[in-house]
């Protein structure tokens, strides 16, 4: 990680977390002070949100001041294949997982988890369908017998639900 920081990530990426933090604190303050809450309750949120805003501001300034002048990195990033660029594979995995959860009630966990496992294995470079099938079957068996039957987790079966 340190090495990555030495290489210095793009400014917009470095500013993302403090901006999210500042946005979150402002939105929470607005929600608190425009809602019909009791006075005592909202001042604690204010007491926490103000340091968040101040720290986020300091961090943003520090990041901007620490930015080094641009080098030839632009041409280097352009030559990197799309799938090998940072954020691409994690974002694909995150998007597939979120979509899967959105439809899990209807599709059921066996289908959603099978898709998720396949996508993640493909993203790590695994191509063998037998290995993918093996991991899917093993995981689903552990989930069905271990978590649903023994622990009693109420995971939705969706399309595979038989009455």
């Amino acid at each position: 990680m340190q090495q990555e920081n030495k290489q210095q990530n793009p400014l917009i990426e470095r500013l993302l977390f403090p901006l999210i933090a500042a946005g979150l604190s402002v939105s929470m303050l607005v929600e608190q002070f425009t809602g019909s809450y009791r006075d005592e309750s909202k001042y604690y949120v204010l007491a926490i949100a103000i340091p968040v805003l101040v720290l986020a501001l300091i961090d943003i300034i520090k990041n901007i001041r620490a930015t080094k002048p641009k080098s030839s990195s632009r041409t280097q990033t352009q030559s990197v294949p799309l799938m090998d660029r940072v954020y691409v594979r994690p974002l694909i995995a995150g998007a597939v997982a979120l979509t899967g959860i959105y439809f899990m009630e209807d599709l059921g966990f066996p289908i959603v988890f099978s898709i998720l496992i396949t996508v993640i294995m493909r993203l790590t470079g695994e191509k063998s369908p037998y290995k993918m099938g093996g991991v899917i079957v093993a995981s689903l068996l552990v989930i069905h017998f271990g978590f649903v039957q023994i622990i009693g987790l109420d995971l939705p079966y969706g399309l595979l639900e038989f009455e």
Binding site: M1, Q2, E4, N5, N9, E13, L16, F17, P18, I20, A21, L24, S25, M28, E31, Q32, Y37, R38, E40, S41, Y44, V45, I48, A49, P51, V52, L55, A56, I58, D59, D84, V86, Y87, R89, P90, A93, G94, A97, L98, I101, Y102, M104, F113, L116, I117, I120, M121, L123, T124, G125, E126, K131, V135, S139, I143, F147, I151, L153, L155, P156
Partner: protein, 527 residues
């Protein structure tokens, strides 16, 4: 307290069967690179929640101890540390392997880990109730400062610097305000989302920040194709055969290695005490413990011994492994006495405690004392099983270092989602796991502390309770936080914990720059 200590022992005895299972799971997980102790606990979170509290906690502690030892095996045999905490083990253990002394090195690791766990257990069982007794005398005023102290120390230690650490911690505190106000019972920052009325699930935050974010981080890394992996495995098998051929001592070597540790009582005493202290400091972790113990032994070593450091020093190997495991006992102390988890692994145990409604903080020893003592007693059993199970697994576990991430990542991701779901059984919580996974991934890439955010979110409710109770005690005046003598001492400690590291850092920077300057002048004068 003696009655509770004995009750705790009997409670532990009736649940002792879970220790070898935990140690074995921990060792296997520890040997797999990328699976940290906290990751393996995240995967088993639904099981730990399902089990009774004492069993869940004992299982978690045993896995932690097993993982701290398991990551030494690939470090010694293949020079692949299972986690950052075993890098010293690789530095000293691998040269021993190359010199044909693998089994002796493994014996040293096994015995050192067992001794570390045993001493950690003994001191923590003696210290914890006494610290809890002192902490019981704290009013909400002092308790709120203690929580703040924990957060500041973690922010200070985090790699990205104080501002980033504090920002992460305060964002965690802010997230903890979502839900129902603990004093007035009002909804806060729920945005009319029903699932947020009880607050954001701490389990979802924990699983997302520790587990799912790690999956995303690993996905980002460049991966070897199947051909490269097959070649690597072939190389590993060849190396393992070579190790067996070179190392003609086998089980005898393990025994002699273990005996070498026994003969050096001052090394393991010093290292275990240091590991224990480091374990009790929030945020420090195994890598700091092993590194500090290693450099401590380097200072104590004779001139002859000093030359061996970095080239297969037995003393160096011992110190790192003893400190690694005594740290587990040390990290249990602030968790059980003050309710402050010092590491990600301890945060998971705190979530288990919270789920089962155990008292968090010093009252744990008076309200659920037998559970606390059962966990502390279990460390002795863990020490024995580390010795037994470790000796059996030593020559096999290192092969797990070649398990491909292609199998691990999809399984971890699916189990993370189930872990997030297990607490409330809302699909919404699975979504939160992914959201916090993405946030954690972004934070790790840019040097923000995920542990500080996590601890802020976990301790937030407790902090708010203490803070508001303190204000009530002071009739809505903040002066009460600066009037009480213990509070003043805690404030001074808090200020020192911020100022001293900053001063040391500045001094080190000045020293480095003056050294650079003098080197430059020398170069110039020499032409």
């Amino acid at each position: 307290m003696t009655d509770i200590l004995i009750d705790g022992f009997f409670l532990f005895l009736s649940n002792a069967w879970i220790v070898p299972i935990g140690v074995m799971i921990g060792m296997v997980a520890g040997a797999v690179p990328g699976l940290t102790p906290s990751n393996s606990l995240v995967l088993l979170l639904p099981i730990m929640i399902f089990l009774p509290p004492e069993q869940g906690m004992i299982l978690g502690t045993a896995i932690y101890a097993g993982a701290e030892m398991g990551n030494s095996f690939p470090a010694v045999v293949l020079n692949i540390p299972g986690s950052a905490g075993s890098s010293i083990t690789a530095i000293e253990g691998y040269p021993m392997t190359r010199a044909g002394r693998t089994s002796r090195a493994l014996g040293i690791c096994i015995m050192s880990s067992a001794i570390g766990a045993g001493i950690g257990g003994a001191i923590s069982i003696a210290a914890a109730p006494n610290i809890a007794d002192i902490a019981l005398k704290f009013s909400p005023v002092e308790n709120s400062i203690v929580v703040m102290f924990g957060l500041v120390v973690i922010a200070q230690i985090s790699s990205g610097g104080l501002v980033k650490g504090l920002l992460s911690g305060f964002v965690g505190l802010l997230l903890a305000t979502v839900g129902t106000d603990p004093i007035f019972g009002q909804f806060r920052s729920t945005y009319d989302v029903v699932y947020l009325y009880d607050g954001i699930s701490v389990v979802a935050i924990l699983v997302g920040l520790l587990g799912f974010s790690e999956v995303l981080t690993q996905l980002d890394a460049k991966h070897k194709n199947s051909q490269q992996r097959a070649e690597e495995r072939k190389h590993g098998t060849a190396q393992a055969k070579q190790v067996k051929a070179d190392d003609d001592l086998g089980c005898k070597g393990i025994f002699y290695g273990a005996m070498a540790v026994v003969k050096r009582p001052f090394v393991w005493l010093r290292s275990s005490v240091l590991g224990l202290i480091v374990g009790a400091i929030p945020g420090a972790g195994a890598s700091v413990a092993s590194l500090m113990a290693y450099s401590q032994e380097m200072n104590f070593a004779s001139k002859e011994e000093k030359k061996k450091f970095g080239k297969g020093s037995e003393v160096g190997l011992m110190s790192a492994d003893v400190a690694n495991n005594s740290m587990v006992g040390g990290s249990l102390v602030p968790l059980l006495t003050l309710g402050i988890p010092g590491s990600a692994t301890m945060a998971i145990l705190l979530v288990v405690m919270e789920y089962h409604g155990l008292h968090i903080g010093p009252r744990l020893f008076t309200m659920n004392g037998e559970v606390a003592f059962a966990v502390l007693w279990s460390q002795f059993a863990a020490a024995i099983f580390l010795l037994v199970v470790g000796s059996f697994l030593a020559f096999a576990a290192f092969r797990l270092a070649y398990v491909s991430v292609s199998y691990i990542l999809p399984i971890v991701s699916v189990f993370c989602l189930i872990g997030g779901y297990a607490r409330n059984q809302y699909l919404f919580d699975m979504g939160m796991v992914i959201l916090f996974g993405l946030i954690g991934y972004l934070m790790k890439r840019n040097g923000y502390s995920t542990i500080a955010l996590l601890l802020g979110a976990i301790l937030g409710k407790m902090f708010e309770n203490y803070l508001l109770q303190g204000f009530r005690l002071g009739y809505d005046s903040a002066w009460i936080f600066f009037e009480r003598p213990v509070a003043i001492v805690l404030w001074i400690l808090l200020a020192l914990s911020i100022a001293v590291p900053m001063w040391l850092k500045r001094r080190a920077n000045k020293k480095t720059s003056s050294e650079d300057d003098s080197n430059y002048t020398k170069e110039v004068t020499n032409g």
